[in-house]
Symmetry: D4
């Protein structure tokens, strides 16, 4: 049984590559989808498609149209959502994607360093599981496939 | 990941062929579905199947039965809806299909010339993205597949 | 695009064979599912699996358990429901399956002789289309596939 | 706690008056709604509002529009549906309303003479309870209010 | 039983006053809601609240935010939607509101002059009833309350 | 038509192997999924992934996170749920999975010894069918595939 | 803001009176509903309404019809569900009602003695909160009303 | 028409009092609900009800149970959600509540200083309206009530 996993969260380091590599090492039959990981392109996609915008607010508005279209399609296709929270940045998109997964009744795994326990406590409470690193998240998924 | 795209909108020119050709040029793994594009057949389908009707109203009633059956099935099977609005015609079917997509939580791309911005503003506001031509719509879909 | 069609309605003649043969003649990519067509077995299935029942009411109760399980699974898997009403019998199962299809937002085609128009008028009004014979029903489905 | 009860079923005798009178005798806080009980008006309502129609089929079509509008509003407002089946008539509307109630997750009580057990067995199987007369239906509702 | 009616459609004449007056004459217990009927204010509401916008597109964008918020709240509260289509204007908002009502399973009455039958045929087909004037729409609602 | 069956219930004996073997003997095209059957691992999975917990309550809390994640994914993928109740143990997980299946409109087969009829009567009443052994459950599924 | 609370769980002692009395002491604006608390009547309600049944299984079957009708109506009307588990009895009805509440997205409070932690761990994990006594459950509800 | 407004967002200053006062000045018929605004009590509520916990993580876990119960009930009762984002703190709860509102199809107004435009762009894009201060949010709600 193949599962599609949406990898929500920050796009400032290469944690998604780590997930994919470790899933491969475990021979897990997973497909991964997620947001545009090229941060500049994600910010510029509105102007890339629609042309120059009058100001930075309009630029952001149009970029969010295309980013949300992508998330709408790919999150909708996924069986499980993994949302990673790091110590930097606001990461409201991560919280938005995680909450959308919960509201759509999609299983949700949160990865966060223990230090973020307090500000994430209500969101963690609604997730299926909260772990501290990529290995633990993959062991949680491995457990779904294990027969003993 | 193959996606099925419903092409809503006017059936008076061959814009759908343009979409399909350009999708092929981009090697996008898309299946396209949509309404009957033969306008006369679309108007006559009720009488074609059920026989002559007493007046033009009954003829239209029966035609709409079969056209709505087709849309019901194919829109239900689609992952994304593209709705194109042109400058002519009432195009209430296009607005109906676009609104149905929104209400069914299906991602929606509107294509319209900029001149139609004002009458379409509330519908555009509810769509994921609004663009001005077929190329931009396909670039929006290409962006869903791009990894960087 | 393959479609699965649930064939609701009386199990007293072989109209389903007629549908399947004519679909094949048209090369339509359809899978057909439906209720148990062996009437005796449909009536006896409760006792067949659970053993003799104390009276005819209990026998009917257990039979309906298994018949409804079958319908629950197969109607749930279908893309379109065709419900045929004939001139004989109560056919409340047909009305139940047709109404369930409507409530589940599944496209519904009703086949009935014109003489039944009056008692079926409210149900017909909620169906996508109402036709008078198997040929017309298949032409309605053919129309979904036609490109011109 | 007031409950609204939709009384689906035949409109050929005055069983609804019986229900209302007996509910009053029990001091049950119930509001009753249901279809138009004047059979002629129910058949003629299309022409009453839209004017003469070309033939009996068109007359029936328009009547069903208004009857279904009424049912749509009132069934939607109800907390429980009681559907009575008698020995005469096709009663496909009753089966339609009962099935719609089930599909909308509304509690359903079926009243039918025991002789109809066989043709109604699958529908009875999906209802909450099936009883044989109005008294039993009201005792079922009384039981919801009883504290001991 | 009070019902709330959303009056969708053009805001260029005073048809809503006509509806309200005639409902009062019939002593129907109806509450009416709908879009902002002051057309200029509807177009300017974005700038009224958020201040001057850089261009007419941004002005329209912000106006649609507030108009859609209003519709979202009030359509959500309504029991029945009446959508009136006139011979002028694009009226895509009316088609959007009517389609949203259908998708939300809210009963829908369309009012349109007979001349618009052809372009509205698919939308009419999905509405509960289609009538030609305000009187007929109110008679349809009256019929819901009539007991004989 | 392949169907996926979730096997809910106690993990204290090997009844699931019995189901799988008998399904194979009947050549039924079924995929089986279910909870972790290694009881110790099911109890320890929280500490296995997250490390030692401060007390037995915390250990149980974390274990249930991972067990519920597994059930969430696999029950969501299933077409039919079989829930087996035995004479020992509380089996609240079985009741939880069975009730979740009902609430998600998934077909449900309960297997229980006749002696448990009384305490299971309300849950049985909401299941599609209740049988007494694995053979009967598979005959119920066989019946879905039989054409006569 | 009045809230309606469904009190699921065993009907063998008077814990519901305890809840009601303590809610009154706190002046909480709560309405309480729940199952028939007279155990004998709950077991006999089928025969009370439908007359003597052929055997104990049929007696139980008919009783569960009426008990489930009651729960269907009253659980559907509730804003919060409290499910109490004691140390005796199977209490599968309690698990069924609690799971139904979760699946219907109704807030759920579980009351159970700490000793039941292990067998209830997966159900507790899906509840909003799990407490050990009636006082704590009411303090949880009090907290919803508190402004500081 | 009274509306209930859930005030999501930080509980570190008294912006909710500002909303309530200004709503009163405008004579808007609004009821306000929201999270516990006493920050210490919100952090301590788990231990307040369940007693001392072994460590700060367990303390947070239990607190989030009760905070989420409160939000579950009150957000579920609301007609509109206002979510305020300030420049300090992680505010993942605000993002969670805002996203839940969107997923539940509840109208959403975001208040944020313009400086937060970039990190909030995707969430703003899914909200109905985004404004910069309390006054503008109330003018948006006032507009729902205005008849001209």
């Amino acid at each position: 049984m193949e599962l599609t996993i949406y990898l929500a969260g920050q796009i400032h380091d290469n944690w998604r590559e780590d997930v994919k590599r470790k899933a491969k090492e475990r021979d897990l039959p997973l497909n991964f989808v997620g947001p545009m990981e090229n941060h500049d392109r994600s910010d510029d996609i509105g102007e890339e498609i629609l042309g120059e915008q009058p100001n930075s607010i309009a630029k952001d508005d149009t970029a969010s149209d295309f980013n949300n279209l992508r998330t709408h399609v790919l999150l909708g296709k996924s069986d499980i959502v993994i949302a990673l929270f790091g110590e930097k940045y606001k990461q409201w998109n991560s919280a938005m994607d995680a909450s959308t997964a919960i509201a759509m009744n999609k299983p949700l795994i949160i990865i966060r360093p223990q230090i973020l326990h307090h500000p994430l406590k209500e969101l963690s409470n609604k997730a299926n599981v909260t772990v501290e690193n990529v290995d633990q998240a993959l062991r949680a998924i491995q457990y779904i496939y294990d027969s003993e």
